[in-house]
C-alpha cells in the first residue's frame, strides 16, 4: 500500500466562485465564443509582439481529466513524482443523474504582477521581456520558499532534493524553438493551448471583471490564464475535495525561529525597561542569555533555507520583500543587542539609549515577521491577528524570561506576563469564532481542523499558557518555579505557532484527490 503523504491542503481556484470572494471571481465564458474541439490551433503562429505575451488557455469543455498533461510535464522536466508543476482539479455540482464534474488543469498563470516575484528576497524570478513568461533562476534561489506562500495558486514548489523551488516556465525552451509546451502537445483533447494576449487589454478586462474571457483573476497578481467554462457547470459546483482537509506542513525551523526571536525581543525590551525603571542588577546575565536565544533563532531560520550557505543573499530585495526586511531588521537587532549587552557588561555609559534602539529594532523585526505571513494565499494568516499574536508572544515570554533570570520587579513582570497571556487566550477564542463564522472556505476549513484533529493540541496550548504564564507567575516568585513557568509558557507558544502553521489552509489552484496529493 502506498503511504499517504503528509499533504498540504489544497483548495482550488474554483472554490472562490462559491465563497463569494470577489477578488477571486471567476468570470464565465461568453456565449459568443463558439469555438469547438479541434478547431483551435494549440500554438499561435507568431511570437508575441510589443505589449503582448504568451498565456495558457484551458478549455474545460474539452478536458476529460486524464492527467496526460501532469505526466507529460513531469517527463519534460525530469521532476520526481512528488512535484507536479501542472495539476488537475475536479469540480462537481448538480444532483444525480444530472450531476456534472469538470476538470481544471492548471500550472503557472504567468501573472502580469507576479507575487512570487515581488516577494522573493533574492530576485530569483524574472518576467521574460519578449514572452511574459515568469522564469525562476535555480542559481539565484536560496530555497526560502517564501514564494510558495506568496503565490495564490501554489505554483512554485520546493524540491527538497535540490534545495530550491521550481515552477512551470511554460516550456520556455520549447517555445523558443517553435515547439509546443509538453502539456499542450500531450493533451489528447487539445484542451490546453498557448495564446497571445494583449497585456493592456487583459488588464482592462480583469479590472472590469467583464465576462469576456473566463479569466481567473487572483488577488493583485493578474493571472493571464484564460479558462473556458463548460455551460454544464452548475451554480453549486465546488471542488470535490473541499471538505477533505488535511493539516499543512509545520515548518519546525520557522516555529522555533519566530517564537525564539519574539522571546528574545521581549526579553531584551524588558531588560531595557527594567534598567530604566528599577536599575536592576542582573540585567547583564539576562541580556546575554536572551541574546543567545535570539542567535539560536537565527540559526534555526538559516536551516530553514534549502541553501543555507547563501543566507546572506536574503537581504538583497529589502526594497520590496518583507523577508529581506525581516532579515535586515533582525540582523540589526542582533548587532545592536550585542553592543547593548556588551555595554551593560562593561558598565559603559549610554547603554539606556542603545537599549532603546535594541527594543525598537526588535519590535520592527517582529512586525516584519508578521508581515511575511500577510499573504492572500493563506487567509488564516492574512489578518492583523498575526501581528497581534506575534507581539503577544513577545509580551508573554519576554517578561517571564526576565523574571526567571531575576531581573526587575517580579510582581510587575508577573502582571505583564499574565495580562499578555490572558489577552492571548481571549484573542485565541475570538479568532476561532471568527474562523468558524467566516464565509471563506479556507477559513472554515482551518476552524474545522482546529475543532477536530488539532483540538487536543489547541487545548494543550491554552492549558500550558494558563499554567506557565498566568497561574505560576501570579502565585510565586520562586526562581525555580519561574524557570518551570517559562518552560511551560515557551512550550505553549511553540504549540501555538505549530497550530498557526498547520491549520493554515491555503488557497490553491487545483484540487487533489482526497487530500492525497501534496502541495
Amino acid at each position: 500500500m502506498p503511504v499517504e503523504t503528509a499533504a498540504t491542503t489544497v483548495l482550488p481556484l474554483m472554490a472562490r466562485v462559491s465563497t463569494g470572494d470577489s477578488r477571486f471571481l471567476l468570470a464565465s465564458s461568453a456565449p459568443a465564443q463558439a469555438e469547438t474541439a479541434g478547431d483551435v490551433p494549440r500554438m499561435p503562429s507568431r511570437r508575441p509582439g510589443a505589449g503582448e505575451q504568451y498565456r495558457f488557455h484551458v478549455d474545460m469543455r474539452k478536458c476529460i481529466g486524464c492527467k496526460c498533461c501532469v505526466v507529460a510535464c513531469n517527463e519534460q522536466n525530469g521532476n520526481p513524482a512528488a512535484i507536479t508543476w501542472r495539476r488537475v482539479g475536479e469540480i462537481e455540482g448538480g444532483f444525480f443523474p444530472t450531476a456534472h464534474r469538470s476538470y481544471v488543469s492548471m500550472s503557472c498563470n504567468h501573472c502580469l504582477n507576479p507575487t512570487c516575484l515581488s516577494g522573493c528576497p533574492v530576485d530569483a524570478f524574472a518576467q521574460d521581456r519578449d514572452t511574459g513568461i515568469v522564469l525562476h533562476s535555480v542559481d539565484a534561489c536560496i530555497g526560502c520558499q517564501y514564494c510558495t506562500w506568496n503565490c495564490s495558486y501554489g505554483v512554485p514548489q520546493f524540491n527538497p532534493e535540490r534545495g530550491v523551488v521550481g515552477k512551470c516556465d511554460m516550456c520556455h525552451g520549447r517555445l523558443a524553438q517553435g515547439q509546443a509546451p509538453a502539456c499542450v502537445s500531450a493533451c489528447p483533447s487539445g484542451a490546453i493551448q498557448i495564446e497571445i494576449v494583449n497585456v493592456d487589454a487583459w488588464r482592462r478586462a480583469v479590472a472590469r471583471a467583464a465576462p469576456v474571457s473566463g479569466a481567473p483573476s487572483a488577488d493583485t497578481s493578474l493571472a493571464t490564464t484564460r479558462l473556458t467554462l463548460p455551460s454544464t457547470l452548475t451554480p453549486d459546483a465546488r471542488p470535490t475535495d473541499i471538505t477533505a482537509v488535511v493539516p499543512s506542513e509545520p515548518h519546525w525551523s520557522l516555529i522555533l525561529m519566530t517564537v525564539l526571536t519574539q522571546l528574545s525581543v521581549g526579553a531584551l525590551t524588558t531588560v531595557w525597561l527594567s534598567q530604566l525603571l528599577w536599575q536592576s542588577r542582573h540585567v547583564v546575565a539576562a541580556a546575554l542569555s536572551s541574546l543567545a536565544v535570539g542567535l539560536v533563532a537565527f540559526a534555526a531560520a538559516t536551516l530553514h533555507l534549502g541553501r543555507p550557505i547563501y543566507a546572506y543573499r536574503a537581504v538583497k530585495m529589502w526594497k520590496r520583500s518583507w523577508l529581506s526586511r525581516e532579515v535586515l531588521l533582525f540582523a540589526g537587532f542582533s548587532i545592536v543587542a550585542c553592543a547593548y549587552a556588551g555595554m551593560l557588561w562593561r558598565g559603559l555609559p549610554g547603554s539606556a539609549v542603545v537599549g532603546a534602539v535594541t527594543a525598537v529594532l526588535g519590535a520592527a523585526g517582529v512586525t516584519a515577521s508578521a508581515c511575511i505571513y500577510r499573504v492572500p494565499s493563506r487567509p488564516s494568516w492574512n489578518t492583523p491577528f498575526t501581528l497581534v499574536q506575534f507581539n503577544l508572544t513577545a509580551a508573554t515570554l519576554g517578561p517571564l524570561f526576565a523574571a526567571a533570570t531575576d531581573v526587575g520587579n517580579p510582581r510587575w513582570l508577573a502582571v505583564v506576563t499574565s495580562s499578555a497571556a490572558a489577552v492571548a487566550i481571549v484573542v485565541l477564542a475570538l479568532r476561532f469564532f471568527r474562523l468558524s463564522a467566516s464565509p471563506v472556505a479556507e477559513l472554515q476549513a482551518s476552524a474545522r481542523l482546529l475543532a477536530t484533529q488539532l483540538r487536543p493540541r489547541l487545548v494543550a496550548r491554552g492549558a500550558l499558557l494558563a499554567a506557565g504564564a498566568i497561574a505560576v507567575p501570579l502565585f510565586t516568585s520562586n526562581r525555580a518555579a519561574l524557570i518551570v513557568a517559562l518552560a511551560l509558557a515557551t512550550a505553549a507558544e511553540i504549540t501555538g505557532r505549530y497550530l498557526f502553521f498547520v491549520s493554515a489552509v491555503p488557497k490553491h489552484m487545483t484540487a487533489p484527490y482526497l487530500g492525497a496529493e501534496a502541495a
Binding site: M1, E4, I64, F95, A99, R101, P188
Partner: protein, 730 residues
C-alpha cells in the same frame, strides 16, 4: 545528503539539465535517448503506436507515434509513463522454487525440469486434464499460438483458458451466436462517421482516453451513454441514460420493440441477411415502454427519444465494454445489441457497427490464435471439418484435435477446489486480485498440488502463493504482434533486455516443450516468435481473421494492418480501413446472421435489509488492472494513491458519513476495510462504487461467484453490500 547539498552549494543541476532531442526537441536531458524503438502500447486494446526511448540499455522515455493510424501521436497517462513499468522494483528476476514457506532461487534448467516433472507426474497419476492453464491477454499473438499448441497438443489438457474470460469472453460468445464467428465488425474510423454513437456500460473517457479523442473529433454525432453511474463519459454525452444496474438488456429489447412497432426497421436487410425475425418480434412483445421504464428507471419519453435517435441515424455505432460483459446475462445482452444493429442494418457499413471495445492489449490475439475457447483461426471444436482442416495444416492425426473445449476459467478454479485440477499454470495474470469471490479463489490456489506462476512481476499476491515462479519478459522486452479492438495487427518490439534472468514467454514455452519431448513435433525448427508468426499466417489463411498477406515488415511499415488481409492483397489495401460483413454474408452455416431472443432478468444478488447497497466495481484512468504495473510508476501512483468508495450524499447522510471518512464495505462473502469515502452525486442513491485495482482493498473479496452460463464471465458489476463507518477523516 552530502555536505555540499546540505549547504546549498549543489543543486543537482546536471540531473535536472535540459537538452535537445532531434525528434522531441527541448526536454529533460535525462529523458533524451540514444535511439527510439517503435512499438505498440502494452496496456489496453486501443493499440496506440509509440516509441520507447532507450539510453545506455535502459528505457528512459516514450513518445506517441504521430504517424500511427490509431492514436496519431497521442497517448494516455499510462502510456506516457510506460517506460517506468520496465524498471519497477517488483519485476521478477529469477526463477524461484518454494521450499517450505520460503522461495529459493533456482537455475532455469532446474525450474523447467521441476515443472515438467511435476506436470508429468500429475498427468500420469490423474490424467492430462488434471493440469489447468490460465493465461492472459498480455502476451504477443505468436506466444498465444505457441502456448495453445503446447497446452492442447503437448500437455494434452483441454482445461485451458485466459483471464480474457474475466473481460470479453461475453463479447466473443455473443458475436459467435449472432454472426457465427468472433470478430468485432467495425473500425475506430466508424466513431468519426457515425451520426449516433450509443455506448452501453462503457466509460471510455476514463478507460480508453484515446478512443474518446477519436469519438470527440466527430462533431456532428449524437452520443448516447447508458450507464448507472454518471461516469466521465456519461457526463459528456448528449443523452445520458442513468438506468438501473443491469437493466441494459431490458432497455435494448424495449428499443427493438419500439422500432419494430413503428416500422422503423430495415425490412430488406432483415429478409436478406438474418434469420429469426419472427421469434425476435415475439420475444420483445412484453418489453413495452411502460415495463421497460419500470425495469430501467428511465422515463417512457427518454426511451422513445433514444429509439428515435437510433432509428433516425444514417449510421449508428454501438460500443460496449464491461458494463455489458461483466454479467450473468452478458452474452444475451450482446446478442440483443447485435439484434438492434441487424434489424436496422447498422452493420458492415461506414460508421455502423455493434462494436465490443476490448480490454487488454492483446486479448484479441488470444481469441484469434489461441487454442482455448476455439481452435486457432476461429475454428470450432465441434466442427469436424474445422478439426480436419487444422489437423491437415499441422500434419497431425485428426484424433489429436480435441472435439470440445475444456473448462473455462471459473470452472478451472472450481475444479481446483474439487481436486479435479491438481497442477495449475498461471501466466501473466493476478487472479488473487482480479477474480471474483476472493475467498474461494484463494482456497482453490491453496488446494492445487503444484502452482506455477509465470509473470513479469514478483511478488504479486498470486505469485506469492506459487510453488514455482518463472520470471518473464514483458512489453518492451520482446517481439511479436498485438491485435487491437478494431482487428488491427500491430508490431511490438524489444527495446531493452529483461531484468535478471527473466526470459520471454515464448522462450519459456519452447523450453518446456523441449523438456517434455514434443518440441520437434509441434515446433520443429522454431527459434523465435517470427517462426510462430509464419505458421500462424498459414493457419489463418482463408479464415475470417486472415493474416496470410501480412509480414512483420509490412505491419511495421503500415503502423498496423486490419485483418482480414489475405495473401496477394496489394500493399495499398493494407492501409485501408476494413470492416466485416459488408457483403451481408455471415459465418453461420446459412450465411445469415441470427436474431436471437434474449430475456432480461434481474441481477443475481439483489440488495436486502442486511446488505442494502448495490456495489459496482470499476477502474480509474491512472491504473491498470491489479496495479502490478502502475503501482510502481511513481507519477501514476501519486496521482491515484488510494482506492475509495463513492456514495450518494443522501445515503451518506443516513449513515452519518462525512467526506473522507473511513468505511468498511461488507458483502456476504467478505469485507474491504478502511476505504476512504467520496461523497458524490455521480452515483445513484442505493448504489456504491469501488475501484478494483488495489490488492490491499480487494473489491473482489466482495464480489460473487455468479457466471454467465454461456461465456462463463463473472457478474462483477452488481452485488449486495452494506457500508459501515469505521473512522472519521478529522
Amino acid at each position: 545528503m552530502s555536505l555540499r547539498r546540505f549547504l546549498g552549494l549543489d543543486t543537482r543541476s546536471e540531473e535536472y539539465a535540459y537538452g535537445h532531442d532531434p525528434v522531441v526537441g527541448y526536454t529533460s536531458a535525462a529523458k533524451i535517448p540514444d535511439r527510439w524503438v517503435a512499438t505498440t502500447c502494452g496496456y489496453c486494446s486501443v493499440g496506440c503506436g509509440m516509441f520507447i526511448g532507450v539510453k545506455n540499455g535502459r528505457a528512459v522515455s516514450v513518445r506517441g507515434n504521430p504517424d500511427h493510424p490509431v492514436n496519431r501521436g497521442m497517448l494516455c497517462p499510462k502510456g506516457l509513463s510506460e517506460h517506468e513499468t520496465l524498471s519497477g522494483r517488483n519485476r521478477a528476476r529469477h526463477p524461484l522454487l518454494r521450499r517450505g514457506r520460503r522461495f529459493e532461487r533456482v537455475t532455469w534448467p532446474e525450474a523447467i525440469r521441476t515443472m515438467a516433472a511435476r506436470f508429468r507426474s500429475v498427468r500420469d497419476q490423474y490424467g492430462a486434464d488434471a493440469i489447468g492453464v490460465i493465461s492472459t491477454g498480455q502476451l504477443v499473438t505468436e506466444e498465444f499460438y505457441t502456448l495453445g499448441k503446447l497446452t492442447q497438443l503437448g500437455l494434452g489438457t483441454r482445461n485451458y483458458d485466459g483471464n480474457t474470460t474475466l473481460c470479453m469472453s461475453t463479447a466473443v460468445a455473443g458475436y459467435k451466436l449472432s454472426f457465427g464467428s468472433d470478430g468485432p465488425p467495425g473500425a475506430y474510423e466508424d466513431l468519426a462517421h457515425a451520426d449516433v454513437v450509443f455506448l452501453v456500460g462503457a466509460n471510455i473517457a476514463d478507460n480508453h482516453p484515446i478512443l474518446w479523442q477519436r469519438l470527440e473529433a466527430n462533431r456532428s454525432k449524437t452520443l448516447i451513454v447508458a450507464d448507472p453511474r454518471v461516469s466521465k463519459t456519461a457526463m459528456l454525452a448528449d443523452l445520458h441514460l442513468p438506468l438501473k444496474p443491469r437493466s441494459d438488456l431490458a432497455l435494448i429489447n424495449g428499443l427493438i420493440r419500439i422500432l419494430i412497432e413503428s416500422g422503423r426497421v430495415d425490412r430488406d436487410y432483415i429478409a436478406s441477411h438474418t434469420t429469426g425475425f419472427n421469434e425476435l418480434c415475439a420475444s420483445v412483445r412484453d418489453y413495452t415502454p411502460e415495463r421497460v421504464s419500470s425495469v430501467t428507471g428511465l422515463s417512457v419519453d427518454v426511451i422513445y427519444r433514444t429509439a428515435s435517435l437510433y432509428a433516425n441515424a444514417r449510421a449508428a455505432f454501438i460500443g460496449w465494454t464491461m458494463g455489458v460483459n461483466h454479467s450473468t446475462k452478458g452474452t444475451e445482452t450482446v446478442t440483443a445489441i447485435n439484434n438492434l444493429a441487424l434489424i436496422t442494418g447498422n452493420i458492415g457499413r461506414v460508421g455502423a457497427s455493434p462494436f465490443s471495445i476490448t480490454g487488454q492489449c492483446n486479448a484479441m490475439g488470444t481469441r484469434e490464435a489461441g487454442f482455448a475457447s476455439s481452435i486457432p483461426g476461429y475454428r470450432k471444436f465441434e466442427d469436424a471439418a474445422d478439426r480436419a482442416d487444422i489437423a491437415r495444416l499441422w500434419n497431425l492425426p485428426v484424433e489429436r484435435i480435441p472435439e470440445s473445449r475444456g473448462l473455462a476459467y471459473p470452472d478451472i478454479i472450481e475444479a481446483a477446489l474439487e481436486k479435479r485440477i491438481r497442477a495449475l499454470w498461471i501466466i501473466a495474470t493476478n487472479p488473487v486480485v482480479s477474480f471474483p469471490n476472493h475467498g474461494v479463489l484463494r482456497q482453490a490456489l491453496e488446494t492445487v498440488e503444484f502452482l506455477v506462476v509465470q509473470d513479469g512481476f514478483h511478488p504479486t499476491p498470486t505469485s506469492e502463493m506459487a510453488h514455482l515462479v518463472l520470471p518473464a519478459a514483458i512489453w518492451g522486452e520482446k517481439e511479436g504482434t498485438y491485435t487491437n479492438s478494431e482487428r488491427r495487427v500491430s508490431k511490438v518490439n524489444r527495446a531493452v533486455d529483461p531484468p535478471g534472468e527473466a526470459r520471454s514467454d515464448f522462450d519459456i514455452f519452447l523450453e518446456l516443450a523441449r523438456e517434455l519431448g514434443f518440441a520437434d513435433e509441434l515446433f520443429a525448427g522454431w527459434t523465435s516468435p517470427a517462426d510462430a508468426f509464419e505458421e500462424w499466417r498459414r493457419v489463418s489463411a482463408g479464415r475470417l481473421c486472415d493474416y496470410s498477406g501480412m509480414t512483420w515488415d509490412l505491419i511495421e511499415r503500415q503502423g498496423g494492418i486490419q485483418w482480414p488481409y489475405e495473401e496477394g492483397a496489394s500493399e495499398d489495401a493494407a492501409g485501408e480501413t476494413r470492416r466485416l460483413y459488408g457483403d451481408g454474408c455471415f459465418r453461420t452455416p446459412g450465411g445469415k446472421a441470427r436474431l436471437l431472443p434474449a430475456e432480461w432478468e434481474p441481477f443475481p444478488e439483489p440488495p436486502t435489509d442486511a446488505f442494502p447497497f448495490v456495489l459496482n466495481t470499476g477502474r480509474t484512468v491512472e491504473h491498470w488492472h491489479t496495479r502490478t504495473k502502475t503501482a510502481h510508476v511513481p507519477i501514476l501512483d501519486r496521482l491515484s494513491p488510494n482506492p475509495w468508495l463513492e456514495i450518494n450524499p443522501r445515503d451518506a447522510r443516513v449513515l452519518r458519513i462525512r467526506p473522507a471518512d473511513r468505511v468498511d464495505v461488507v458483502s456476504q462473502r467478505g469485507r474491504v476495510s478502511n476505504l476512504q469515502v467520496r461523497i458524490t452525486e455521480t452515483i445513484a442513491p442505493g448504489q456504491v462504487f469501488v475501484p478494483f485495482h488495489w490488492a490491499a482493498f480487494n473489491a473482489n473479496t466482495l464480489t460473487q461467484s455468479a457466471y454467465d452460463p454461456i461465456s462463463r464471465e463473472p457478474n462483477f458489476k452488481q452485488c449486495a453490500v452494506r457500508v459501515e463507518k469505521t473512522g472519521t477523516h478529522d
